[in-house]
């Protein structure tokens, strides 16, 4: 009996064991083989890093720095509380901050989570030694984007952010990963494909503690291409200083090429903030009432005011409806259609020709001129000058502005176009909305003799010039442009001109002020112009939101800037 039980017991037991072996090793062998490979093979990403962004003289505005961070491997840290306690003491950080960062950064048990960053090198070396024996705590090097000038040029540079879910889906084939940073605005976004480096990786064999035992393969990461901007860092700094705490923008452009030497928008932001773990600053930027992330130069749309009189004048001269000697009387107001349209000067300017009207920025003259020229001509020349269309600048999110037409008004407002709309339009009020960059280019057309340039801010990529911006010759007569230049000269230099505050000693310039009435309070202040008067090289634009009437604020800014510009240029040459 015993023998029978024993024999059959052993037989059954070993049959089960052998069939189990057969199942594990033969049937599921391939499956377990894969599992064992997953156990010991890891791909360690070696992040590529972005190309630098430099000014036109090669000065670095955005670069990279080596930084140290602490990463936690979730599945290797047994006692999280004591590890965090230890780290908190060593780093001088609140334990709650570490735990919060861990919670936010956690993706999967096998993915390292960054809990602290920007650790000084000496400390990092010390910590690396200290935590060698603590499994799951890693002191890692990382290459981080850095913007040494912080807020300077921030709107041009843009900022980086982590890929959104949607972007990740689309960009996965281009080597982006879950945590990849991508340009979200500015040059960082527009030139993302050039700036981005390619990630490399290392195929490594690890043991049960995740320690690397062997390197089986390596693909080196690459660095992105350097982008050289057209900006001049010195001029940019000066312009930012001049604009100060005002809301507005300053731009300076080469009238022949469309290269922007200065592009300032304020309020601005510090792009470094977007690379830090602290999200409160980012949410401040996103929610602040004055929209610091918004590049007013290309995204802002504003009423233009008196500067538009140059368009009305062009339309009159080109269409033949008016000549430079055409005179209208300004008694300080204009009665039309049962309404009284005012001039900014209560007592009126009296009889004036077109040149005088521009010099004095007389509204009444242009009310009458506009009616004579007709909305059709005005809109058509505004369009020729590039208003109402994107300039094609190499920055994302450029706005179009709005050139109102009767069709537009009927469609959007449900009303027909009244002659009163033409009256408003001829002095740049009413429905018209422009972006500062459009206005600057329009001034450049006057200054350079009729060439519509494409404004741009990237000069070269990694030494290769991006010079494909051929200006387009416009069908505006030279005499017209010459007349406008002369009128703008008078604005600054005539004893009765509205832009006298911008007058410089030694250098002749042309300019035009504007006071743009708007629903948000005080009028916006504009001052645009070109310099030098003979053979102009730059066009400039100064704009302050709610800066008040008469363009005084902006004309003063222009003067201060241009003095610096010409001194600076003398030095440079």
């Amino acid at each position: 009996m015993f023998n029978k039980v024993y024999k059959s017991g052993v037989l059954i037991a070993f049959l089960i064991l052998i069939s189990r072996l057969f199942y594990l090793q033969v049937v599921k062998g391939a499956y377990f083989y894969d599992l064992s490979i997953n156990n010991y093979l890891r791909i360690l990403p070696l992040p590529g890093f972005r190309g630098n962004i430099l000014d036109r003289y090669g000065r670095e505005i955005a670069g990279n720095k080596l930084s140290f961070c602490i990463q936690i491997l979730p599945d290797k840290v047994k006692d999280k509380k004591s590890v965090f306690g230890m780290l908190s003491q060593d780093l001088g950080l609140d334990i709650n901050v570490l735990q919060e960062n861990y919670k936010k950064g956690f993706r999967a048990v096998f993915q390292p989570v960054k809990v602290a960053e920007d650790i000084p090198k000496d400390k990092a070396i010390y910590l690396k030694e200290k935590y060698r024996q603590v499994p799951g705590v890693m002191v890692e090097e990382e290459v981080k984007r850095v913007y040494p000038y912080e807020n300077l040029c921030s709107h041009v540079l843009g900022y980086l952010g982590q890929l959104s879910q949607q972007e990740l889906m689309e960009l996965k084939p281009y080597g982006y990963r879950f945590h990849s940073l991508i340009g979200k605005s500015g040059i960082e976004k527009f030139y993302e494909p050039y700036l981005k480096g390619n990630d490399g990786g290392m195929l490594v064999k690890v043991d049960n503690q995740g320690r690397i035992k062997d390197i089986l393969g390596k693909q080196s990461p690459t660095r992105g291409l350097d982008v050289y901007l057209t900006l001049d860092l010195d001029l940019q700094k000066k312009a930012e200083q001049i604009l100060g705490e005002e809301r507005g923008c300053i731009m300076v452009m080469d009238v022949h090429t469309g290269e922007l030497l200065v592009m300032v928008s304020h309020p601005n932001f510090d792009p470094n903030v977007f690379l830090e773990l602290d999200e409160s600053k980012i949410s401040h930027y996103l929610s602040s009432w004055d929209h610091p992330l918004y590049n007013r130069c290309i995204q802002g749309i504003y009423p233009l005011g008196s500067i538009f009189k140059l368009v009305t004048a062009t339309a009159g001269l080109e269409s033949g409806a008016l000549s430079s000697t055409t005179r209208f009387k300004c008694p300080g107001y204009f009665e039309f259609g049962g309404r009284r349209y005012r001039c900014w000067k209560k007592e009126g300017h009296g009889w004036q020709n077109m040149g005088e009207a521009i010099t004095h920025s007389c509204n009444v003259y242009f009310y009458q001129a506009g009616l004579k020229v007709g909305w059709k001509n005005i809109i058509s020349y505004a369009r020729i000058y590039g208003l109402g269309n994107r300039t094609g600048i190499d920055l994302p999110y450029e706005n179009k502005g709005l050139l109102p037409t009767p069709e537009w008004k009927l469609k959007i407002k449900g009303e027909q176009w009244y002659p009163g709309d033409t009256v408003n339009l001829s002095i740049g009020q009413g429905y018209l909305l422009v972006t500062p960059i459009q206005v600057l280019r329009f001034i450049a057309v006057i200054a350079n003799g009729g060439y519509l340039v494409t404004p741009h801010i990237c000069k070269a990529i990694s030494g290769e010039s991006t010079g494909k911006h051929l200006p387009q010759k416009l069908s505006v007569k030279n005499s017209t442009l010459k007349f406008l230049r002369r009128a703008m000269y008078a604005v600054v230099n005539s004893p009765t001109g509205t832009g006298q505050l911008a007058r410089l000693r030694g250098i002749k310039i042309g300019g035009k002020t504007a006071t743009a009435q708007n629903p948000s309070g005080r009028p916006h202040a504009w001052f645009v112009g070109f310099a030098p008067y003979t053979d102009p090289e730059i066009a400039f634009l100064f704009f302050v939101e709610n800066g008040g009437g008469g363009g005084f604020v902006t004309a003063r800014m222009a003067k201060e800037f241009l003095e610096y510009y010409f001194r600076h240029k003398g030095k440079e040459l």
Partner: protein, 349 residues
């Protein structure tokens, strides 16, 4: 003195041990290569003791049963009261440690056979003395804590009742009593032991904790495939994903490196050895000696089957080494002595 040995047993044990050493070399390759030499040393030590046992003779040893049993119980008590940190499994003698629970594996069958063989088990209560003689050391061993070692003692007890041809009805009464006490036993288990049992029922419940071992063990065995990865090439063992890869989980290391072919070969060697020992035991005319050997054989068999079953995820992880394969001095010496007891009986036949 007449010298008579069963050579096929010797050869089988020798081959298994050599393969085990080769495998131990691989299992301890990244851990401590000297383990192979220590294991060899223990083997030699076991042979010396085994020679003594052989010379004394199994029959004479049977007469010493009560003394040996009491002595083993005493050692189990000693090991519990000694103030060592951690588990109380070993008597520590500086350069070598000894596990009294191993001695009990021989002492209990000895005691059962020599003391209770001639009793009739006609009433339910007549079962009590043999049960107590297994239960007392089992409780002591469980305190060490060593659940596997404790449970192992009930196997010769069961076999003993089978040999006595007791009535199944009465035996089942006691088995039923045992089952009733399972919750009580479970309540007294260490947390890690409970976890081992629950993870056996669901290995994925805690993939980084105690289910980890079972998972890694199955990965090791399975990834060996048909032909294996080759000696010293097993990833699971070499990169230490597999815990206890030189002791309880030494078989997966072998199965990973030698595949289904190698694993079945070793299983066949064990079957041959068990078969041979079974034949030897049955050829002994002297009933107490024969039955003693059979009980030893049952323990030996159970240990092999439980260890293999545990590494393959068929049984919970209870911590029993694989005879002649796992590293471990006391176990190896005990197994050599066990073989010597068979040889001793063979000589006296």
């Amino acid at each position: 003195m007449k010298i008579k040995v069963d050579w096929s047993t010797f050869i089988l044990v020798g081959v298994i041990f050599l393969i085990g050493l080769l495998n131990l070399y691989s299992a301890s390759y990244n851990l401590a290569k000297y383990l192979v030499w220590k294991q060899l040393l223990w083997f030699v030590f076991g042979i010396i003791i085994g020679l003594g046992v052989y010379v004394v003779g199994t029959n004479r040893i049977l007469h010493l049963a009560p003394v040996i049993y009491i002595f083993s119980l005493f050692l189990l008590l000693i090991v519990l009261v000694l103030p060592y940190p951690g588990a109380h499994r070993w008597l520590r003698f500086g350069f070598f440690n000894f596990q009294p629970s191993q001695l009990m594996k021989i002492a209990l069958p000895l005691f059962l056979i020599s003391v209770f063989s001639h009793r009739g088990f006609t009433t339910v209560f007549s079962f009590v003395p043999p049960i107590l003689s297994a239960l007392i050391p089992a409780i002591l061993i469980a305190q060490e804590p060593d659940l596997g070692g404790a449970l192992l003692l009930f196997i010769p007890l069961f076999a003993f009742f089978l040999l006595r041809r007791v009535s199944f009805k009465k035996l089942f009464v006691w088995i039923f009593v045992g089952l009733v006490f399972i919750p009580v036993i479970y309540a007294h288990l260490q947390p890690y032991q409970k976890k081992r049992l629950t993870t056996f029922l669901n290995p994925h419940s805690d993939p980084l904790g105690s289910g980890y071992t079972i998972m890694q063990s199955k990965i090791a065995i399975g990834s060996g495939g048909i032909t294996g990865k080759g000696w010293l090439r097993g990833v699971q063992g070499q990169l230490r994903f597999l815990p206890e890869s030189h002791t309880d989980f030494v078989f997966p290391v072998f199965a990973e490196e030698w595949g289904f072919t190698g694993a079945v070969f070793v299983l066949v060697l064990y079957i041959l050895l068990l078969w041979r020992l079974f034949i030897i035991a049955n050829r002994i005319k002297l009933q107490p000696v024969r039955e003693f050997l059979l009980l030893l054989l049952v323990i030996f068999t159970a240990q092999i089957v439980i260890n293999l079953g545990m590494t393959m995820g068929l049984l919970p992880v209870v911590g029993l080494p694989l005879p002649f394969f796992s590293y471990g001095g006391s176990d190896l010496v005990t197994n050599v002595v066990l073989i010597a007891l068979f040889q001793g009986a063979w000589r006296e036949k």
